[in-house]
């Protein structure tokens, strides 16, 4: 288990990581997700020991490692650029950690050949890194990091240098490997799809702060901040003002004049203004009136064909409220929508997620 207690890292005037408290469970696949410069890589480098926290402390398996040098931590990292030693063969690269631990030759040989099998690199042991493809180098980096049997494996955007197809394939392989090994993985990425695919839990970072920690499902369906709603997947963000409360539901007016009914449970009692978010795939449209808590008429102002789905820009007939909707494009039986069409639009109260405005 990793405990990160109130860790702050400042570089001069710049605060890269701001008072982060976070617990990583043993055997968990945790992803640190955020845009570039959000502090996720700095946090990872503090876990590996390359950076020292300005404030706070880090415990790994109840041992305080805050002041421990990288080479004294039982933590290994897969680097973004792989950082394979160019002057060593695949075998020597993978065996480097074992040589440093002074594991005896016979055992090292078995462990290396086991891991080589695990990452499907048989036959490449005597090659040098420059004789390998990007995907193969990635596997060597992975094998080199897991062969010393670390308690935690840190991965710094390890898939970002691969092409799209290989990346998807490696996502599944990484997940499989993590389950097989039972090692705690801390994975850094800016790619939200990657995070959703692989993680047990996701920690979303923005401007050095931990915005939200939760499972992929929680993060996606119940974002706690506007940033999370917008960064994970796509979201319509609407400034909203409470106009009346009625038992369990409330009536809000959003930017552009549209009035919506929402569940009051998620609206913080003490405030009158917040942001209502709704996923584009939860914006239902039809040529006929829809059964939902919120139904209104709208025009299609924009239509973009994206293969399996159509992306539609719509604007309410009354007022200027604009929304983005995604509709499946699968069969000819379904209604076809085109720019300029007048349609009915429906929003379920359950699909409207309220988040606080950023101050």
């Amino acid at each position: 288990m990793i405990q990160i207690n109130g860790v702050t890292k400042r570089f001069g005037n710049f605060t890269a990581v701001n008072d982060v408290t976070l617990e990583v469970r043993t055997g968990e696949f945790l992803t640190l997700l955020g845009p570039s410069g959000c502090g996720k890589t700095t946090l990872l480098r503090m876990l590996s020991g390359f950076e020292h926290p300005t404030e706070g402390s880090i415990f790994i398996d109840s041992e305080d490692v805050t002041d421990l040098a990288p080479y004294r931590r039982n933590v290994n990292q897969v680097f973004q650029s792989y950082a394979l030693f160019p002057h060593m063969t695949v075998r020597d690269n993978i065996g480097f950690g074992l040589r440093m631990q002074k594991v005896d030759d016979a055992e090292a040989r078995t462990r290396i050949s086991d891991v080589v099998k695990l990452v499907a690199l048989e036959g490449f042991e005597e090659r040098y890194p420059h004789q390998l493809s990007g995907g193969q180098r990635q596997r060597v980096a992975l094998a080199r990091a897991i062969v010393p049997r670390p308690t935690v494996l840190l991965l710094d955007e390890p898939l970002s240098a691969l092409d799209a197809k290989l990346r998807v394939q490696m996502q599944f392989e990484l997940k499989r490997l993590q389950k097989h090994l039972g090692i705690t993985f801390v994975f850094v990425t800016h790619d939200q799809e990657e995070a959703l695919t692989m993680s047990d839990r996701i920690a979303v970072f923005n401007k050095g702060r931990l915005e939200q920690l939760g499972t992929a499902d929680e993060i996606y369906h119940h974002p706690k901040t506007a940033f999370v709603a917008d960064f994970i997947g796509e979201a319509n963000l609407l400034d909203a003002e409470m106009i009346s409360r009625n038992g369990v539901t409330g009536r809000v007016r959003v930017e552009g004049g549209l009035e919506l009914t929402i569940g009051l449970s998620q609206w913080p009692a003490e405030i009158t203004r917040a942001i209502v978010t709704v996923r584009p795939e939860k914006v239902f449209i039809s040529k006929h009136p829809i059964d939902a808590e919120n139904v209104f008429e709208a025009h299609i102002t924009e239509e973009v064909f994206q293969g399996a789905i159509d992306r539609l820009g719509i604007q309410c007939v009354s007022g200027t409220t604009q929304l983005t909707a995604l509709v499946a494009n699968e069969s000819s039986l379904q209604e076809a929508f085109h720019q300029g069409d007048r349609i009915w639009c429906g929003l379920h109260a359950d699909d409207l997620v309220v988040v606080r405005r950023e101050e």
Binding site: F50, Y71, H87, M100
Partner: protein
């Protein structure tokens, strides 16, 4: 070559001509260099080789009669005065090279790890000595090291030593002079290699459990070896033949091979013997070069 060149002018270039044309052009580009080397390096070497097997008359003129005598004199094991000098030269050059690495490597590594603007400024500082004449810089050392020079004065004033140390005209002075003269030639090539070493490789070594020493010996040294070997060639070989420093700072008490060769040509007017020494010296260079290149070739073959 000729026909290829003419066909390209009146025929549309074929694939092979495309491949050949830059080759011819390349030769044209390096022709002045080749000519220069042939005239001023290869030809003199041949002349040297021929002279080394000749004799001389009493007036010091070359007599074109074959003899082994000059080489026999060098390899005279009864009285190995010249072998001893040669050995001393190699030894001093070796010590100089070792100190150059010991002092130059950390400096080069330190500079290479700085930000770019700082790096360029520090490199300037390394090259500042080249702005003054080499001889003037060597005389500066004499004023520092001499009997009543700067260093002795300071040490005496600080009451560290009761009487002036004798530093000039000792092996110590010679090595100091050589070290000073050749240090930049060690720093610059090592810097060139060190600058290319990716920081993440050093991180990776630490991450995998290598302490500072193992990271240095297993990762940093092998990755900067091209710079080290270039530095060795640039320092060791010229240091063997250096005569100005040994003259000025060794006071002729510790003659090195360069001094002997210089004397044979200028004072003793024994050109054939000087030529033989020169040939031996050149062979030493070739051996050192082949040794370093062999290691480099073995390396690049692996990679």
């Amino acid at each position: 070559m000729q026909s290829a060149a003419t066909t390209t002018t009146d025929l549309p270039a074929t694939a092979t001509n495309h491949a050949r044309r830059p080759k011819l052009f390349g030769w044209l580009l390096i022709a002045p260099m080749v000519l220069w080397l042939a005239l001023f390096v290869v030809a003199p070497l041949i002349i040297l080789l021929v002279y080394s097997f000749c004799q001389r008359d009493d007036l010091g003129r070359i007599v074109y009669e074959f003899t082994w005598e000059n080489y026999a004199r060098i390899f005279d094991f009864e009285d190995p005065i010249y072998l001893r000098i040669l050995w001393r030269s190699v030894l001093y050059a070796g010590i100089t090279t070792a100190f150059c690495i010991a002092i130059g490597y950390p400096v080069a590594w330190f500079i290479a790890r700085q930000r770019e603007t700082t790096r360029n400024r520090l490199l300037m500082l390394v090259m500042v000595p080249f702005w003054t004449s080499f001889l003037i810089r060597t005389y500066a050392w004499i004023t520092i090291l001499s009997q009543n020079g700067l260093l002795n004065g300071l040490l005496e004033a600080a009451k560290i030593i009761p009487q002036p140390l004798e530093m000039m005209y000792t092996p110590f002075a010679v090595v100091i002079g050589l070290l000073y003269a050749y240090l930049p030639f060690m720093i610059l090539p090592i810097y060139g290699s060190a600058e290319k070493v990716d920081n993440s490789l050093v991180d990776a070594a630490h991450d995998l459990g290598a302490g500072p020493f193992r990271a240095f010996s297993d990762v940093i040294i092998p990755l900067t070896w091209p710079g080290i070997s270039a530095g060795i060639l640039l320092v060791f070989v010229p240091a063997i033949g250096m005569f100005a420093v040994t003259d000025l700072m060794g006071g002729g008490r510790q003659p090195m091979i360069g001094n002997v060769i210089q004397n044979q040509f200028l004072k003793a007017r024994n050109w054939p013997f000087g030529a033989a020494l020169g040939i031996i010296f050149t062979l030493l260079f070739v051996i050192a070069y082949v040794f370093v290149q062999y290691r480099a070739a073995k390396r690049s073959q692996n990679e």
